[in-house]
Symmetry: C14
Subunit: 92 residues, 14 copies
């Protein structure tokens, strides 16, 4: 196997695994927070707006860890500096 093949294969595999593993934690965490938010609204309907606002700001923060993974995953596929180097080095 030449260098280009190895780098491409590793990039493809890593990009997939990164977002796959990286989506487990945020999805579970957001699901838990969302469940508690609905319970809190049912318990204290008058505070629904405060609860909802805090919920969405917090969800955005949890989502940020999934987005880190998505960013790395996208960089590996579309803006991979190692791949660009080997393309130039091997006259790709």
């Amino acid at each position: 196997m030449d260098s280009n093949t190895i780098i491409a294969a590793v990039s493809i595999f890593t990009a997939g695994i990164t977002i796959a593993l990286g989506s487990i934690g945020p999805a579970l965490g957001e699901g838990r927070a969302l469940a508690q938010a609905l319970s809190a609204i049912a318990q204290q309907p008058d505070e629904a707006s405060t609860i909802t606002r805090t919920l969405f700001v917090g969800l955005a923060m949890v989502e940020s860890t999934a987005i880190y993974c998505f960013v790395i995953s996208m960089i590996l596929i579309f803006a991979n500096p190692f791949w660009n180097y080997f393309l130039q080095a091997n006259g790709g």
Copy 2:
């Protein structure tokens, strides 16, 4: 094995594993939130519309992590830049 075969095999395997692992977290998180929503409606029927609205906005946010995985999976199958490169390089 030539380069094309390796890249294709890795792409196929990664595409499947990505969506398979990536669906576990969102499905469990959404299931939990949905379960709590039903419990909240039963407890506070008058707030059903607020609860349902918050639920579906939240579910969409949780679903987004599954969609990241689906997007990566689809890119790897139908718009894989590494595959396109090797097709051109090897005159595919």
Copy 3:
């Protein structure tokens, strides 16, 4: 092993594993939501129609992650672009 054999073997294996792993999360999540729905109906029978409606819309959303896996699985078996390429390349 020639290219066609490798691509076919990887496609078969990935198709099976994708739907197998991808059915665990949705099944558990749906089971949880369904269980809570029945509990909510028993607690608040007058809201049974609201609960049931929310339940089935939510279940459809959870089911969607299983369907992503099923779609990828079917694509890999019946509309696999990599397989089509190798069939043409090798005059299959």
Copy 4:
């Protein structure tokens, strides 16, 4: 090993693993929903018909993920397009 042997071995192994792993989630999810249904009937016997109806519609939805696995498993054994290709290619 020739191509036919590899494809057959991978198909057999994948077919078994797919339904084996794919039955864990639905069985646990259905068991949980069923348990809660019985508890709900004991708590609110007057709603037994509503609960039972919702239960069986919901169980069918959970069962659907097991059926996806069973369908893929059966396709791999009895209608495997890759196997058919190799049978023709090798004059099987």
Copy 5:
């Protein structure tokens, strides 16, 4: 190793693993539902017939996933189409 040996070995191993893994989920799910049924009967003896009827219909549904595995397992041992092909091809 010739083709017949490989196919036979893979079939034997897969048949065993399929039913072994496939019995874990249904057994746990049925055990849970059964436990809750007994608890429900103790709590509401007058509804014992409704509970028992719902229990056994539900258990049959859970059992179905174990039966899928058993069917695949039996097919692999006694009606394996790949094995039949190789027996004919190799004049077995």
Copy 6:
């Protein structure tokens, strides 16, 4: 290694693993159901006969999944069609 040795070794290993893994789920499920039955009898002694009857019918159903494994295990040792084929083919 000749074919007979491979088939025998795989059959022995699979037979043991099948019943070993297959006994975990049923044993845990039956233990849970039995525990709940005793609790139910203590709570509602007058219903002891109904509870016990439902318990043993249910246990038989859970036990069935263990028996599937035991049947496959026994078939692999004493009525293995693949083994019989190789005995004849190799003049065993």
Copy 7:
């Protein structure tokens, strides 16, 4: 390695693993049922005889899955049909 050595080694290893794994589920299940029985006796001493009787019949049923494993384990050591075949075939 000749055939006899392989068959013997696989039989020894499988016999040990079968009973080792197979004792985990029954032991945990029996421990749980036993614990609940003692709790039930403390709660309803007058029903001690009914509880104890149900307990021991149930324990025997749980124990049966351990005994399946023990039987397979003993067969593999002392009445292994594959071993007997190879002893005859190789004039052992």
Copy 8:
């Protein structure tokens, strides 16, 4: 490696692993039952003799699964039929 060495090594390893894995389940199960027994005595001191008697009969039953493992382990070390065969065959 000659046959005797392989059989001895496999026997030693299997004997150790069998009792090691086989002691986990019974120890946890007995610990749970014992804990509940003490709780039951504290709750209902007048029934201490019944509880203790049931406890020790039950513990013996749980212990039996550990003893199965210990028996297999001892057979593999001190009365291993495969080892005896190879000693005779190789004039050991």
Copy 9:
């Protein structure tokens, strides 16, 4: 494989795995804290501002562990000292 290829492949794989594994803990931890915050607001609406302020300061602290991983991941892709060394050494 030459040195550049190895270093690039390891860097790509490690960058992905680092952020993927590193996002699980923070996402779960933040989800838990967020869930409790919503519950606390529902319980004590008058303290919503104190709770929210403490929540976001705390979330930032939890997020810091995810950011450590993101920093290492970015360093490995865009400012990798080992990669720079090999580029110079091999006249890349």
Copy 10:
């Protein structure tokens, strides 16, 4: 590697792993029983002597599974029949 080296290496490794794995279950089980005993004494001080007596008899029974492992471990180090055989066979 000659036979003596293999047997010695396997014996050392197995002896260590046996007691290491075998101490996990008993330690957890005894810890649980001990914790409950202290709770029971605090709840019913008058029964302290009965509880303590039952506790120590029970702990001895749980400890027995750890001792099985310790015995096997010691036999493998100091009274290993396979090792003795090879010492004699090789004139050690």
Copy 11:
């Protein structure tokens, strides 16, 4: 592979894994403590300042274990004594 390549590859991989694994525990621990702090503030608003102060001192202590990992990770990338040695030894 020459020495420099091996040391660099191991350093890159270890640096990533160290911070990735090392962030799981602190993130979960901090999330738990933060969740309880918010609950405590809601329960006892008058003690908010004491709770918050104790929380942040404690969080700093938990964070210290993540920082240990970050320090080791940074040392491995930017101040690795083994790497420096090989650079000098090989005239890098």
Copy 12:
């Protein structure tokens, strides 16, 4: 690798793993018992001496399983009979 090296390497590795794995169970078990003891003292201060006495006798029993591992670990390092044999055999 000569015999002495293998035996020494296996002994070192086993000694470390034995005490490492063997300390997990006792530490968790003792922590649980200690936690319950403190809870019991707070609940029933008058019985503090009985509780403390029972606690320390029990902890010693739990600690014994860790000591078994420590003993085996020390034997493997400082009084290893296999090592002594090879030292003599190879004139070490």
Copy 13:
């Protein structure tokens, strides 16, 4: 690979893994204790000083296990006796 390379690679990898794994337990344990401390302060504000003092002494004790790992990790990087030996032996 020469000796120096092996020792350096193993030292780097072990140093990272040691602190990474070693930070999981202390971080979770400290997080739990901290959470309970905040809960205790909210419940009994008058004892805040006693609780805080006990908390920090205890946290230091838990932290000690993380520090053991950090010490070993630092010794392996900066004061590794094996590394020093090979540097001298090979004239490094």
Copy 14:
């Protein structure tokens, strides 16, 4: 690889893993006991001195299992009898 290299590499790896794994159990156990101690002080402030004293004696006992690991780890690095033997044997 010569003997010295192997022994050194195994010693380094084992020393790190031993303390890393060995710190998980004690840290979790101590964290649990500490958490309960704080809860007990809040519940029964008058017994704070008894609780604290029992806590620290108990923590020392739990810590002892971590210290066993630390001792073995230090012996392997600084007083390793196998290493000393090979240094002398090879004139190191």
